[in-house]
């Protein structure tokens, strides 16, 4: 750093939420023409810090300076006026407005807006940063990558000198990530400072000059990217939790964890007339499964088999039928055509309960939608198994408590049985859902985005459990947008494009470039 004041400077930023210290006296800076990466696991305090910089959260203590001048940021409007632009993790676009109208929103006044003149300015801005979009398109018709470009145009439309990108690659295809990096480089060379928040080591190494690492609200390290290795960064990021993470993925403990007790009645219930174990009946079989919305197929003749002891991955850009595929399998959507079987049993027309009986386990995309938020951890754990915990028409509290305590221990859930589930972190909630589903010993498990939003520890933990299920001859179908996840976890990867399975690859041959092209619709990529 030169002696001149850096572009953006944070000093002693502290923010507490009750007992939790989200940010503990953080200090850092971003210079002109510099890309600084902020690395940290989920819950490390990155998002809180971004919200503080952008005026969405007020810090308890600390100073923010821009070129040496102290700022008083009370709202996003103040942040924008100071030259700070932000692309939030969950996009902040109004879907029912056009691209141009969304760009206009930042710092919009009250008076008349000359649409024609404004359109010309938006087109100029898009050209300057190399984005090609029609200004009058409705945002609801744009892809995720396109929406992000709109966000960037929006952030830069006003005099912006520091651009903050909060987890910008979380939802992008490899091609979109490429395009984003090209844009960032272009902005950087024009003198902009960029703060790139991420938990993906590889991206950080590629795009940034400097990297700061956040752990549990504290800045634990600052390195020049070129001089630091992935291993060191990972160690910094995960800190003392590294040790516990390795133990949870250790296969011995993992195996012990799934060899768990399930109440006897429950086990009976989840073991229907079992087919001959010798014959290789697929754990999960889809034949010509089609799901139509108003005559338009969203799933179009999907045929797929998952054998016992196999993990099959479904790759694809969101919106190509993943959600519907999960729904048709889980029983929340009715297939228009085709046949779904679990371990040889036809469940195409079965209700959710019958599917569970047939040995289907589900880990759906919408984690919060899979629990009853106001109920406790133990109540949520037995939701799918109420008959097994009912005695003479009344729930057996003691049995439920024992069951919950056992699962909490085996699955390393950081909560007590009586905690309200809505208060759990994403990782812990996913562990609860995983415990609920695996306790039933499913023959086939459908796992949609099983690790989305989880930190590295929970991520590895979930993978360990899925691999255990595979080792016990369960079949797993993983629907994910995380290509690293699919490559490391799956035995086969199929690509879902516009509701059809258009390609299949072995993980070893699935480079991100190749998968990316397949996901974009190239059949023989």
């Amino acid at each position: 750093m030169s002696t001149a004041a850096p572009l953006l400077e944070l000093e002693g930023i502290t923010k507490r939420f009750g007992d939790l210290v989200a940010n503990d006296s953080l200090s850092m800076s971003v210079g002109r023409g510099e890309v600084v990466a902020m690395l940290g696991e989920n819950g490390a305090g990155k998002s809180t810090l971004m919200k503080i910089i952008y005026g969405l959260v007020r810090p308890d203590a600390g100073v923010i300076r821009m070129e040496g001048r102290t700022l008083n940021i009370r709202s996003p409007r103040d942040a924008m006026a100071a030259g700070i632009g932000m692309v939030t993790q969950e996009f902040s676009l109004v879907e029912t407005m056009t691209v141009r109208e969304n760009v206009a929103l930042s710092g919009v006044g009250l008076g008349r807006i000359d649409a024609r003149q404004h359109r010309a300015r938006v087109e100029q801005a898009m050209e300057r940063i190399g984005v090609d979009l029609q200004p009058e398109r409705l945002v609801s018709t744009l892809s995720i990558g396109e929406r992000q470009r709109v966000e960037i145009v929006k952030a830069l439309f006003h005099d912006c000198r520091v651009l903050i990108l909060d987890e910008p690659t979380a939802v992008l295809t490899p091609q979109d990530v490429r395009a984003l990096f090209v844009t960032i480089e272009r902005l950087r060379t024009s003198g902009l400072g960029v703060l790139f928040v991420s938990h993906k080591l590889r991206e950080v190494a590629e795009i940034s000059h400097r990297v700061v690492v956040l752990r549990r609200g504290t800045l634990v390290g600052e390195r020049v990217t070129q001089e630091v290795g992935d291993a060191e960064l990972a160690a910094l990021m995960m800190g003392s939790t590294t040790a516990s993470t390795t133990t949870t993925t250790d296969t011995d403990t993992a195996a012990a964890a799934v060899g768990l007790s399930v109440p006897a009645t429950n086990r009976d219930a989840s073991s229907p007339a079992s087919p001959d174990p010798g014959a290789r009946v697929p754990a999960l079989s889809l034949t010509d499964v089609t799901y139509e919305v108003r005559g338009h197929p969203v799933l179009d003749g999907v045929s797929l088999q998952v054998m016992p002891g196999e993990i099959v991955g479904v790759a694809g850009i969101s919106g190509n039928g993943q959600t519907e595929l999960t729904g048709v399998l889980a029983g929340t959507l009715a297939a228009s055509r085709g046949r779904v079987e679990v371990a040889g049993q036809d469940i195409t027309r079965s209700g959710v309960g019958a599917r569970l009986q047939a040995g289907l386990g589900r880990l759906t995309e919408d984690r919060r939608g899979s629990v009853i938020p106001q109920l406790s951890v133990e109540q949520n754990l037995v939701l799918e198994d109420l008959p097994a915990f009912t005695r003479r028409g009344v729930l057996d509290g003691a049995a439920i408590r024992r069951h919950a305590e056992e699962l909490i221990e085996r699955f390393d859930i950081r909560a007590t049985p009586t905690d309200v589930i809505a208060n759990l972190s994403g990782g812990n909630m996913q562990k609860v859902l995983l415990a609920r589903t695996l306790a039933r010993r499913p023959r086939a498990l459908v796992a949609a985005q099983p690790t989305r939003g989880l930190d590295v520890g929970a991520y590895r933990y979930v993978h360990g459990r899925l691999e255990d299920l595979k080792a016990r001859d369960g079949g797993v179908l993983v629907i994910s947008e995380d290509l690293d996840e699919l490559r490391s976890l799956c035995d086969r990867i199929v690509v879902l494009f516009r509701g059809r399975i258009t390609a299949e690859v072995a993980p070893a041959e699935a480079t991100s470039d190749r998968l990316g092209r397949m996901m974009a619709g190239e059949v023989s990529a």
């Binding site: 969950e90 676009l93 407005m97 930042s106 008349r112 807006i113 649409a115």
Partner: protein, 299 residues
């Protein structure tokens, strides 16, 4: 049978006027994602205070001003409940309506226990020689200023963009530097004023007196109109006209001998049936504003 078409048409515009005022008031509020069920009470209070002040001062203009202020206060009360305190919008709105109607009725009975006071001076109709165009100035303002003005503001101004953004995705609005709560406060105050004008139109222009139950569900009709119109200005106007045309028709039909056997209650119900039918036909598959009924809390 002979129905006087011109008279029916003229009556239609008069009947539609309070619905256009209050309907557009509700539309502005709902565009920011707030459902103001206080509309019925706000119209009632506007009609009452407008009448009361006009009676005491002898000027309908003071009455109109009083009605506008009443509407603003009612809108702000709704804002305190549903925006600042973040209470359930259904409960806040219904509570406000019940409170306002009961308060007005109580005051009215206390003040005018026996008699039925009438205004000496109410707003007169313009162009009294021309059929159909013989209307009150508030009718002209509703159709020629309020509706096109609101349409233009929502479509072509920064204010309109803000309202749209707050109603569809308030997190996005906040990130764009737009104050969600200030926008909602402003919309509730202005919308409340329009609702109250709609109510006051009945006492200050049409009747020249106040009767209990004077609004008679017109506020609820406006709630339906806004949904039927899918939160667009011109369909609200169209819906108000459809309601008015059936209302004007039933008035005309009621005085023709051909329908003398039909019970009066059935006739009176006609316009409401028309609105419900319209809602059932066009109001399905409605895209509600994204932040409809949601209170916004900053982290």
């Amino acid at each position: 049978m002979s129905i006087n078409l011109l008279a029916a048409l003229a009556a239609m515009l008069t009947v539609a006027t309070p619905l256009v005022w209050a309907g557009i008031g509700e539309l502005i509020v709902e565009k920011t994602g707030v459902l103001n069920l206080g509309i019925e009470g706000t119209m009632y209070a506007g009609a009452f205070t407008g009448f009361l002040v006009a009676l005491r001062t002898g000027s309908p203009w003071w009455g109109l001003l009083a009605a506008i202020l009443t509407g603003v206060v009612a809108g702000l009360a709704m804002a305190v409940l549903s925006v600042t305190l973040g209470l359930n919008q259904h409960v806040s709105g219904l509570g406000l309506t019940l409170l306002l109607i009961a308060g007005c009725e109580f005051t009215f009975r206390m003040l005018y226990a026996g008699g039925r006071p009438k205004l000496d001076d109410k707003f007169d109709a313009w162009l009294s020689d021309v059929p159909v165009l013989e209307q009150h100035w508030l009718t002209y303002v509703a159709f020629l200023v309020l509706a096109p003005g609101t349409w233009w503001v929502l479509r072509s101004t920064g204010l309109g963009y803000r309202i749209h953004a707050v109603g569809e995705n308030f997190e996005a609005a906040e990130v764009a530097g737009i104050s969600v709560n200030a926008t909602r406060y402003a919309a509730l105050a202005v919308g409340g004023a329009f609702m109250a004008i709609g109510g006051a139109f009945l006492t200050l222009a049409v009747l020249g007196s106040f009767t209990l139950n004077i609004i008679n569900g017109r506020g609820w009709v406006c709630i339906a109109l806004v949904i039927f119109a899918k939160w667009r200005v011109w369909p609200v106007v169209l819906g108000a006209l459809i309601f008015a045309v059936t209302d004007a028709l039933q008035l005309q039909l009621a005085i023709t001998t051909a329908f003398s056997d039909v019970p009066r209650e059935v006739m009176l119900a006609l316009p409401y049936v028309a609105v419900i039918t319209a809602l059932a036909v066009w109001g399905r598959k409605v895209h509600y504003p994204g932040s409809y009924l949601k209170a916004y809390r900053r982290a």
